[in-house]
């Protein structure tokens, strides 16, 4: 019995913290999504009120969700977010897979260093690294200056505030999240399998496509989800590098909240964003739980 009590105490602390600061907040977002904006502080109407007859009245306002279906602006922001996240995750995969494979096949004494080099930028300020890309891509930026000095172009190219800049920024920031899970699976592959394939006459490409790639799928899926899920709600990179057309759902939510002070609509957008992401997050967690065992 004593062991039971000890276990309960050990579990109670993180459980109650996560419940209080992670689970309950979502429920609050869900309720406020059905409120109406108002002038007061906090700027929304209460859902539960006491009517003049004395009974409680629950007033649900569905206008925020109807807006998402009826106003093409919000629907397009949602769809665009999904597209940008899918393309970014694919770009990260295309760049990150060869890197992870190279590190996994490097001599063992180098692997820790190479892996550290992938993680290192992640430890320096994310905002300042985005800032570096502004310096590279702006009209008078480093890239345009270099291209003009080389005589490749006469006029500066419009690079900053375009989808090109958006994808570069996202790929740059999220690349480590792709390389790490890929490396984790690739480094566990038994080299004997590849040798067997080559002994049986498979060319390197064929051995890769039929042995390495299928066996590394858990890493591919994990890396894809680790990039895809946060990018759907990304705010900073579209705001600083993307054009005015890059209205992704995270950026729209931010604008509704900070500029329009429409807390209920921002909450409704958060609910919609979460509903979009429930399936990928559940998939990610199920895989994480399986790995953890």
């Amino acid at each position: 019995m004593k062991g039971r009590l000890g276990r309960a105490i050990v579990l109670a602390l993180p459980w109650s913290w996560m419940a209080l600061f992670f689970v309950v907040p979502f429920l609050i977002v869900l309720t406020i999504a059905f409120a109406e904006p108002s002038e007061g502080l906090p700027p929304y109407t209460p859902l539960l009120r006491w009517s003049e007859e004395g009974g409680p009245v629950i007033q649900l306002n569905l206008a925020n969700f109807r807006l998402f279906l009826e106003d093409p602006f919000y629907l397009e922001a949602g769809l665009r977010s999904l597209r940008v996240a899918a393309i970014s995750a694919t770009l990260c995969l295309l760049i990150g897979y060869p890197m992870a494979l190279a590190i996994a096949r490097a001599p063992e004494r180098w692997r820790a260093t190479l892996l550290m080099l992938v993680i290192l930028p992640f430890w320096t300020s994310f905002l300042l690294r985005i800032t570096a890309w502004i310096g590279i891509l702006q009209d008078q930026g480093w890239l345009n200056s270099a291209l003009m000095a080389l005589g490749v172009i006469r006029e500066p190219l419009r690079l900053l505030y375009t989808d090109f800049a958006l994808y570069i920024g996202i790929t740059y920031c999220y690349l480590p999240f792709m390389v790490l899970p890929l490396y984790a699976t690739l480094s566990k592959l038994d080299p004997a399998l590849l040798e067997a394939a080559e002994d049986l006459g498979a060319r390197p490409w064929r051995a890769f496509l039929q042995v390495t790639l299928p066996l590394s799928m858990p890493g591919v899926v994990a890396g894809f989800l680790l990039v895809f899920i946060p990018v759907v709600g990304e705010f900073v990179i579209p705001e600083l590098l993307g054009g005015p057309g890059a209205q992704l759902i995270g950026r729209v939510l931010w604008t509704e909240f900070f500029q329009n002070r429409d807390w209920p609509l921002a909450s409704a957008l958060a609910v919609v964003l979460l509903m979009i992401l429930v399936a990928p997050i559940a998939l990610f967690q199920a895989r994480a739980a399986r790995e953890g065992r």
């Binding site: 600061f21 609050i28 977002v29 994310f126 590279i136 690349l175 759907v232």
Partner: protein
């Protein structure tokens, strides 16, 4: 190593992609010109400009304080949670617990930030605490997602070594608490340190969640940088980035030296 050398090309290009922007920032932080594009001569004036930028320096101090407090809270919670996940077998609600601990890792920041802010507002209405928002609410928010990262690191470390040492201590009559403090805790100390550093860095780096849950007068470093960048690039930001890179590089160097002091090969 024919195969390895063919892969060296994409690896090198990948590293160039990752490091070229950082190198350019370091280079241009020593540029004499106010323009951030053409290099006119060596100068350290932007480092002095940075030192005299009171908004930025004040925000840096505030951010460091928040990061230290929140990383410590996150480590306490994360170590307990990671231990529970790795060592307590199948307890009731384990799946939900694991889910609640892992969700902050991938949750888009705008959702975490908005939901925590609404939570703080609701708490203030109901209990009068926290009164207003500022550094305290930012620290609580950062501790919440930092704890998730610490839990992952600690759990991975605990999964790495077997339970035989802990079992031996129990066989010799040590109580569970004693086993935890004398055996488990020293074994996972490197993971705890790594988790603390991770939580510290994430807190120092966070813009979105802090913007939601902070209040007037409590602008963290990323918030100040963000509004400065929106107004236009200045070389003192590059000086700041260079200093950060230097601190990280030195920190990693020390960590590597401490972690692998006499490693052969």
């Amino acid at each position: 190593m024919r195969r390895a050398s063919r892969l060296a090309v994409p690896l090198g290009l990948g590293f160039a992609f990752l490091y070229l922007p950082i190198l350019l920032m370091v280079l241009f932080s020593f540029n004499d010109s106010r323009l951030v594009t053409s290099f006119t001569g060596f100068s350290t004036r932007w480092y002095f400009a940075l030192w005299e930028n009171e908004a930025l320096m004040g925000a840096a101090v505030l951010s460091l304080r928040i990061a230290a407090v929140s990383a410590t809270m996150a480590t306490l919670l994360g170590v307990v949670a990671g231990f529970a996940l790795a060592r307590m077998g199948r307890f009731r609600g384990r799946a939900a617990f694991a889910g609640a601990m892992a969700a902050p890792l991938v949750m888009p920041e705008v959702i975490t930030g908005l939901s925590l802010l609404l939570m703080f507002v609701a708490m203030e209405q109901a209990f009068g605490f926290p009164a207003g928002r500022g550094a305290d609410t930012v620290a609580i928010a950062h501790a919440t997602f930092g704890a998730a990262y610490v839990a992952v690191v600690v759990q991975a470390r605990l999964a790495d070594f077997d339970t035989s040492l802990e079992e031996a201590a129990m066989d010799l009559g040590a109580r569970p608490w004693k086993v935890f403090f004398l055996i488990t805790l020293p074994l996972i100390a490197p993971a705890i340190a790594a988790g603390w550093l991770l939580a510290f860095t994430l807190s120092l780096d966070d813009l979105v969640i802090a913007s939601f849950v902070s209040g007037p007068g409590a602008s963290t470093l990323p918030m100040v940088i963000f509004s400065a960048v929106r107004l236009g690039l200045t070389p003192d930001l590059y000086a700041l980035a260079t200093l950060l890179v230097a601190v990280v590089a030195i920190g990693i160097g020390i960590a590597a030296w401490v972690a692998f002091p006499r490693r052969p090969g």
